[in-house]
Symmetry: C2
Subunit: 150 residues, 2 copies
């Protein structure tokens, strides 16, 4: 009953291409303890779990997490199955703080979205004015030209 399912693996450049980062970045994340791919000789072999980690790391980055923070969360999550009470309470504390961060960020985003919309409207209306002005200028020139020719 040797379970040999889900053994899809990835090379470093495959992952780099998929997530639009450089291989340097991926190696750097490993050096920082965020990834730990198997090796085949000395080449790195990434499995699905590694891939998810990379994905989460990158998403964390987009949300303003430092690599150290992401690592901490990963490590804690991994140890939740065997952690002691103190560890678990600490993790819960961290989690609630992160959730508060995310709520704040949600607000920030929503406000920014509104403001971007306002800026967009304002910008479009400015654009209209500019175009109307240019049109008028053009027709003025046209009339002048007609006068001279006619």
């Amino acid at each position: 009953m040797n379970k040999q399912v889900n053994v899809r693996t990835f090379s470093i450049s495959e992952l780099a291409k998929e997530f639009n980062v450089t291989t340097r970045t991926i190696r750097f994340y490993e050096q920082q303890g965020l990834l730990s791919p198997k090796r085949q000789g000395q080449t790195r072999i990434y499995n699905a779990k590694d891939r998810v980690r990379l994905m989460l790391t990158l998403r964390g980055k987009r949300l303003g997490f430092s690599l150290a923070e992401s690592k901490e969360l990963f490590d804690m999550y991994d140890s939740t199955t065997q952690g002691n009470e103190k560890q678990l309470l600490y993790m819960l504390d961290i989690l609630s703080k992160k959730q508060a961060d995310m709520r704040q960020q949600l607000k920030d985003i929503q406000r920014l979205q509104e403001e971007l919309n306002i800026a967009e409207s304002r910008c479009k209306s400015s654009l209209e004015k500019v175009r109307i002005r240019d049109k008028e200028k053009a027709s003025l020139l046209e009339r002048k030209l007609e006068q001279k020719v006619g």
Copy 2:
């Protein structure tokens, strides 16, 4: 009819305290062109508009904007009233890109929130198990003790 309303001003340390940043940070933002407070002698005097700028800069930071990006947005927004067509179109382009960013970030946050909730549940259930185990251990010891004493 000299309009002298809304002249509430702030010192650098007032703003620093309010937004929980250092004065160094605020001076740095000025150096980067994000703020331009008036001076009274050589001391900086910030008005409401300066304060809003600082607020926006910090919110931008929370959302992953670089200072340069924020500055660009500020500058463009200020120039929308007199900008030429090309400028305005460029601004609209930037704005739509930022909006796309924000939509992505909204997704990221929502997914992370779900995952944080899952992690929290898992963590709490682990905590329960630990506590139950400890309780059982304690009662076991108690029984042993009773045997010896009795």
